[in-house]
Symmetry: C2
Subunit: 109 residues, 2 copies
């Protein structure tokens, strides 16, 4: 069994509320939402962390951001935040790169 | 005079503590830091908001993220957060697309 829970979700081996997918990108609801709208947007290919990106991944990462826009539009969000936590010291807990799409009241910094 | 303060910074017409630049990307210290390390990473080309990105901007946006990694490494950050606020309802206040690179204690969500 794949050790990575997000890889298992992409493969359909773990349940998730999928909101978007294309050839490279997959998006689903966070099961512990921290905002009224909280979607995780991930590359289908396993990349542990944004730290591990190479120059060749630039277009893929841009597509991740464009997918976030598309999902936000699909969900009718006027404004939103996009957050990537990098490394344990950056708050990352699942080591499959993911972008948090957050909609709802903006927290005070 | 260019109406956009970030465009003026890129052009050297406003002071800023520049930490990185290349052909497409520019990075400087936020003058109102919200974390021990707070860098703004922007495309040199004026794009008002992440909402305004087109498919053709995918690679540029990926390069922005890769530049964030480079700056983080340059500053010796082990972990960090990358945040894009999209639209006024997402907390965006300056309408030249920018990614916040934040280093230091991770806030509770």
């Amino acid at each position: 069994m794949d050790a990575c829970v997000f890889c298992r979700i992409v493969e359909g081996k773990e349940p998730a509320q999928v909101v978007y997918q294309d050839e490279e990108v997959f998006a689903f609801k966070d099961i512990h939402p921290r905002a009224p709208v909280h979607i995780l947007i991930i590359p289908k290919r396993h990349i542990a962390s944004a730290k591990d990106l190479s120059q060749e991944d630039a277009t893929l990462m841009g597509r991740l951001l464009l997918a976030a826009n598309r999902v936000a539009e699909q969900l009718g969000l006027q404004g939103y935040r996009e957050l990537i936590q990098v490394g344990r010291e950056g708050g990352q807990t699942v080591f499959h790169l993911h972008l948090h799409l957050l909609g709802g009241p903006v927290p005070v910094w």
